[in-house]
Symmetry: C2
Subunit: 196 residues, 2 copies
Amino acid sequence: MNLQLEGRVVFFATNNINKFNEARKVLGEYGIAAGMLRVKNLEVQSDSLEEIARASVADAFERCHLPIIVEDAGLFIEALSGFPGPYAAYVYKTIGNDGLLKLMRDIENRKARFQSVITYLSAKTESPICFGGEVAGEIVEEERRKGRESGFGFDPIFKPVNSARTFAEMDTAEKNKCSHRARALRKFAEWYGKLP
Amino acid sequence: MNLQLEGRVVFFATNNINKFNEARKVLGEYGIAAGMLRVKNLEVQSDSLEEIARASVADAFERCHLPIIVEDAGLFIEALSGFPGPYAAYVYKTIGNDGLLKLMRDIENRKARFQSVITYLSAKTESPICFGGEVAGEIVEEERRKGRESGFGFDPIFKPVNSARTFAEMDTAEKNKCSHRARALRKFAEWYGKLP
């Protein structure tokens, strides 16, 4: 633990403990220690995850002056013209998985993709640097979880291609092998590890 | 026309010609001439219309230095925990009225309300000033318009209380008697008319 803390450290500005736990494990594989920073992120309203993440990390850095990452993620359902897109959090809070499943009732094209943008900013970087990750999959017919408590957000209704299980039926290690978030984090971690 | 332009003038920053036309007529009743200003508004992601409108007007003023108003509006459906709320524009663009009607299928509680926040900023005002308007109503069972082209956004599925018609079955004059936007604009116009 001490060894890790003497190595590289980055702070993940998020209020979502599930996202943080996933990130902590991925970054740990690269010898990067992660701290969770609970700050109210500024989120601009935009259809572009990158634009949202850039504005958000700049705002968070402004307030803490630590090497910081933020994530913005979205779920894009093809048959719904990309809905809920970058507004996943709000849509989850209001209509939730039940609402999405109702919207998808009787729709044959179940294709969807999760996208994640990780944005990094520190005193050494002039402007935010973005790393993207994506996973294609489909919306299943009903919620599927491993345990009653497993999975968060839209995980119970999203099944990646080439998988028989939804994100909520996987443990963190398995999800981290294919998730949009883990893919973006790995790109960040590889770049971060090479910094002088 | 010249007379009007010699009187009070305000610029409405919007890309929605329908909103502008409604506003122009309401403001005209108060002797206020309105100009339409097409700028890409910054929109922060927030559940608060007022917060969105404040950030948005400050950004627009920054770029044009004219006396300016912006509007942020939302549709809040009780049975959907307030969805689509402030994200009305994005939700309209993706799932549209069909999506909302599908979400409301088999739901008895059809109560909804439209809210509008008009925010004003000029060189003479220290910070943005907000004026709110609201109208209660319900989501009808299917789209209802007067003509094929009439109404915009969620107008065809929203019927104010004490009205037999949806917003899209009304002409602008009738809609302006009861709409959330007109109510907010009237508050603004009364205040604006009294400015020295």
